[in-house]
Structure formats: structure tokens, C-alpha cells
């Protein structure tokens, strides 16, 4: 039976909030969702008056909701932000071309400028071409590394002060688990930060960090936002899939599990004597890197030399020779050439 909204007590509730257990009607839910995002933004001081902020826009539910809510809050609370949609075209036929159409409609709907940067213009390779070379096993590594840089390079072209992304609470909880299960202490420590990369790189922030995926989906659904929702044609990403399924199972028994995992991640302290990578810059492109060459340059070098495995796994010893454009030995090349499809 429909029950009344626990906030206004007038209209019928449309959802049970996973975070609080409250039952809210549409209007009270919209208000609560927007106000909580505002709280997150103000308490972490994510933005300052007059800043230009790039919104990483994929056309998916999270970034569409982020763009919509930032637009609403910017007007409601006079943030004084200059908002720009920033999209990356990975060059994936049947997926990104369709989702970019959604972003172009969002641009009209929200009346925000849009900049699209493509892998093809930045790296000379589309994901479709990369998959032909590397197969379907490591393609997500290429895509993830390239996308991160592409967003930064697009942000630099636009001279934005900050980039924000639509990562939600479920995403962050998944990442905490994945880093924990991989023993990746460096990432485990920084993956819950609401803002990252303030030294040198353009700062990134996640205003929806505490927003449950369920609420994002229902916000988009009830607001009838125009978003794109097809799984990437290349996407298995099995490791994240397991973490995700595990968390969803937990959430169905105890919704607060998501917040609890984030909380654990935030409050974890790393032992003094744990070796942490030292952040430097890439010797070729100048991007932040803990090695001589950044991951994107190594992957790209591998593609261009016809050695697609170069960037997969650890081959740090080769970096100095790659930097000096020196050839590799036949044996080294042989190891890096073979690709298991």
C-alpha cells in the first residue's frame, strides 16, 4: 500500500531512501537530494565564486544527474560558477557515438557549453582500433588510462579551474574494496578523497560522493532526465563486476553497508613504513607520473611500436630506453608482442 511522505506528510511517498530509511514523495526527495549535494559541496569547500568548472559528461545517469544538480544549485545558491560540459570520445562505435548524442541534447537542455576531446585527436588511435590490436582482455586498461588523461587535457584546453565527475557512493565503495583486494595501498589511501590532484594537475572532485546509486537512478527517472544507458560494447571489467555484485548483495540486506565501506576507507591510516610511490612527472608529456614515463605514454609507445603488451604489467626497467627512443632487444620485443585474444 502506498504510504504518506514522512517529511511533508501530505503526498504519497515514491521511494524509501537507502541512506536514512525515510519514505519521501517526489518533491521532498528532489529537495533532499539537492540539499545533501549542496551540503557536500559547501562542507568540503569544493568550489569558489567565479570558478570555471568542467563537468565530466558521458551521457550516463551519474554525469547527467551531476550536470542537472550543479546547474540547479549554481542558480539556487549563487555559486557564481561557470559550468562547462566536458566529454571524451573514446571512438567506440555503437556506444560512445550514441552516448555523445545524449550529451549534445543535454547541452541544449541545460544550456551549457560543451567540449568534446577524442582519443583519435589526442593519441592518434580510437578504441575500436586499439581493440583490434590488443584484443578484449586488456582494452579497459588502455581506455581507463587514456580517459583520465583526456579529461585533464580537455580541461587544460578549456582552462577550467576544476573538473568534477559523477562518481557516486556505490562507485567509491567498489573502488575501496577493489584496492583493498589488490593490496594497492597507495590507491586505497587516496580513493576516498573528495578532491584529488591539487598539486600541478587540475583538481578533480566528486560532488555525488555520498549519493547512493539508487537515488541517482530514481532522481533521473522521476525528473525524466535524458540519459544514455547501454553497457559499453567492450566492457567486461570482471574485477569491478565482482566487487559490485558483492556490494549490491550486502546493500540488499543492509543499505548502510555502502556508507560504512566509504567510512572505513576514509579513516584508514597507512603505516609509516609502507613504501609509497613518489609522484613526479612524465619525461615525455609532463603529466603526473610515479615512473619515468606515464602510463598513457607507455601504452601509446606500445601501440605505436606494435608491442601492445608494453604497458600491461610492470616493465619499468625499459622506461629509460623508451624515453631515449632506443630499440629493445629481440627477446624483449617477442615477449611484448604476443597477445592472447
Amino acid at each position: 500500500m502506498p504510504i504518506p511522505c514522512s517529511s511533508c506528510e501530505k503526498k504519497l511517498a515514491v521511494l524509501k531512501r537507502p541512506k536514512t530509511g525515510h519514505s519521501l514523495c517526489k518533491d521532498c526527495f528532489f529537495w533532499a537530494f539537492e540539499e545533501e549535494t549542496h551540503q557536500t559541496i559547501t562542507s568540503a569547500k569544493l568550489f569558489h565564486q567565479g570558478e570555471t568548472v568542467g563537468i565530466g559528461a558521458s551521457g550516463g545517469k551519474d554525469s547527467t544527474v551531476l550536470a542537472h544538480v550543479l546547474k540547479v544549485l549554481n542558480e539556487r545558491y549563487h555559486y557564481g560558477l561557470n559550468l562547462i560540459l566536458l566529454s571524451v570520445d573514446e571512438g567506440i562505435t555503437g556506444y560512445r557515438d550514441d552516448s555523445l548524442e545524449t550529451v549534445k541534447r543535454n547541452q541544449q537542455q541545460y544550456d551549457l557549453p560543451l567540449k568534446i576531446v577524442s582519443y583519435e585527436e589526442l593519441y592518434g588511435w580510437t578504441m575500436d582500433q586499439i581493440v583490434k590490436k590488443v584484443g578484449l582482455k586488456n582494452n579497459c586498461t588502455f581506455c581507463g588510462v587514456f580517459r583520465r588523461q583526456a579529461l585533464d587535457r580537455g580541461a587544460m584546453m578549456l582552462r577550467v579551474d576544476k573538473v568534477c565527475t559523477g562518481h557516486n557512493a556505490d562507485d567509491i565503495a567498489e573502488t575501496v574494496l577493489m584496492n583493498f583486494l589488490r593490496g594497492d595501498i597507495a590507491r586505497l589511501r587516496r580513493c576516498t578523497a573528495i578532491t584529488t590532484g591539487s598539486e600541478g594537475a587540475i583538481p578533480r572532485c566528486k560532488p555525488l560522493k555520498y549519493a547512493y546509486e539508487k537515488e541517482i537512478v530514481l532522481y533521473a527517472y522521476f525528473k525524466k532526465l535524458d540519459y544514455f544507458s547501454t553497457e559499453c560494447v567492450y566492457s567486461p571489467n570482471a574485477y569491478r563486476g565482482y566487487a559490485r555484485a558483492f556490494l549490491k548483495d550486502l546493500e540488499s540486506i543492509r543499505p548502510s553497508a555502502i556508507m560504512a565501506v566509504i567510512h572505513s576507507g576514509e579513516n584508514l591510516s597507512v603505516k609509516e613504513d609502507v613504501k609509497m610511490p613518489v609522484q613526479g612527472t612524465c619525461g615525455r608529456c609532463g603529466y603526473i607520473s610515479s615512473q619515468g614515463l606515464c602510463k598513457a605514454c607507455v601504452l601509446l609507445e606500445g601501440l605505436n611500436r606494435g608491442l601492445p603488451k608494453l604497458g600491461i604489467g610492470k616493465h619499468h626497467k625499459l622506461h629509460s630506453r623508451l624515453l631515449r627512443d632506443q630499440p629493445l632487444t629481440e627477446r624483449e620485443e617477442k615477449k611484448l608482442k604476443s597477445v592472447d585474444f
Partner: protein, 102 residues
């Protein structure tokens, strides 16, 4: 009391519609039975009659796979008794599959 139920089913986002042969919505008629249909029985009926492939992506045990949101007449099924909700003629049931990324 043998009522025949006409239901409107919707499948949204994240490829949920792909499990149903690309159908985004459809009207279905449930066969009459002596007791009132509930959502638990509806899921079994959907699994037998509508799901063509990979039912495990939709059903887990006797309920929907965690991460799939269910709306009954535009309200979260968690407010409506979930599996125990008794269906009425012309109810509108929407399944929204969420997925990572975008």
C-alpha cells in the same frame, strides 16, 4: 474469484530491456488463478514466459538481482511490500537495471 490481470511492464536502462528481446515495455495478461497474484509469482511467470536468455541477470533466488530497482505504479517497491505486493488489474511494473559507469 478468477480475475485476469492485464499488466503494463516496463524495462529501463542498463540493458534490462536486452534480456527481454530488446522490448522496452509491453502489456501482458496473466492467466487466472484462484488466489490473487503477487509479485513473487509474477517474477516466476516472467522468468518462464518472457526471459529468453540469461535469467540469472534478472532473477536471483526468488527475487530480482540486487541492483535492479522495481517500481510499482511509479513507487519504489520497498514501500509496497516487495514480493508480497498483491497485483491489481492494470498495474504498472517497471524494472530499472543500474550499472556502473557511463
Amino acid at each position: 474469484l478468477n480475475t485476469v490481470y492485464g499488466l503494463h511492464l516496463g524495462y529501463f536502462t542498463g540493458g534490462a530491456e536486452l534480456l527481454f528481446n530488446g522490448t522496452k515495455e509491453q502489456h501482458v495478461k496473466l492467466p487466472s488463478q484462484s488466489e490473487q497474484w503477487d509479485v513473487r509469482q509474477l517474477l516466476v511467470w516472467i522468468k518462464t514466459n518472457l526471459l529468453k536468455e540469461r535469467p540469472e541477470l534478472f532473477i536471483q533466488g526468488d527475487t530480482v538481482r540486487p541492483g535492479i530497482l522495481v517500481l510499482i505504479n511509479e513507487a519504489d517497491w520497498e514501500l509496497m511490500g516487495q514480493l508480497d505486493y498483491k497485483l491489481e488489474d492494470r498495474d504498472n511494473i517497471v524494472f530499472i537495471s543500474t550499472l556502473h559507469g557511463g
